[in-house]
Amino acid sequence: MSDEQLIRETLSGSNKSFGELVQKYQQQVFRTAMGFVHSKEDAEDIAQDVFIKVFHALETFEGKSQFPTWLYRITVNVCINHINKNKWQKLLNIPNDGFKSILNRSDDKKNALQQIEESEREQAIKNAIDLLPTKQRTAFILSKYEDLSQREIAEIMKITEGAVEQLLQRAKLFLRKKLTHIIGK
């Protein structure tokens, strides 16, 4: 069934149709949320909030843009609100769980030192992405995690394709600046 049909049936009162819509787009929403929060549990919470918001706002969807575009916009807004709400909480938490992640892995190919290096590298990349300014971070995540084209990102963020290109370039330079002395070129 097409998105329009599922939306029409949902608005007529069919929760089953909304369930199908959720199943169709849940991985998309979850993946985008993962890009923002880097945690499976938080990403699932965000995905729930997104779809509940979508359900209640479905009658305001005018169909001027594609449903996935509208869904991406809501997802990005919910993710940014979540990050802003938990900003202070995050400052108090010590994010480095490098040793825990090593213990949980059973990778015989890599020795402990390599695993520590990999874990620290991942943590550094995570922190650098989190430090990106909001618009650059949004463009970066939609590009890297969702493999969207610049045109699609421009439609979601309601900016020009040129602006998207600039944001991606700046994000790339920012990450290079933050990570070069840790990871190297």
Binding site: N15, E44, R176
Partner: protein, 101 residues
């Protein structure tokens, strides 16, 4: 570029994380609960609102009436006390008092 490869590897790892397969069921059950709560919250009919308003007015009016009744029941009784009989000071101020001592 090595750095870009590391970033790509990292994003690929996160992209491959699968969401909970029961996520849609969780969302639908949450929606069922929220629609139940919304259906219980119905607005009161007009006659109930009027009865409530009238009750409040009656209670206030009754209170005012009771207050007025309480103030009107006060009686102003005057008690005349002739304290000249209680203590006869003339006994003490009379010059003949010395005689009685």
């Amino acid at each position: 570029m090595k750095l870009e490869n590391y970033i790509d590897d990292f994003t690929l790892k996160e992209k491959q994380v699968e969401s909970n397969p029961f996520l849609s069921a969780k969302i639908l059950s949450k929606l069922d609960v929220s629609t139940e709560i919304n259906s219980v919250k119905k607005p009161l009919p007009l006659w109930q609102k009027m009865v409530a308003a009238a009750s409040i007015i009656i209670i206030i009016a009754t209170g005012l009436e009771l207050g007025n009744m309480a103030t009107s029941d006060k009686q102003n009784n005057l008690i005349n006390i002739n304290d000249t009989q209680i203590e006869n000071l003339s006994l003490y101020i009379s010059t003949d008092y010395e005689q009685y001592k």
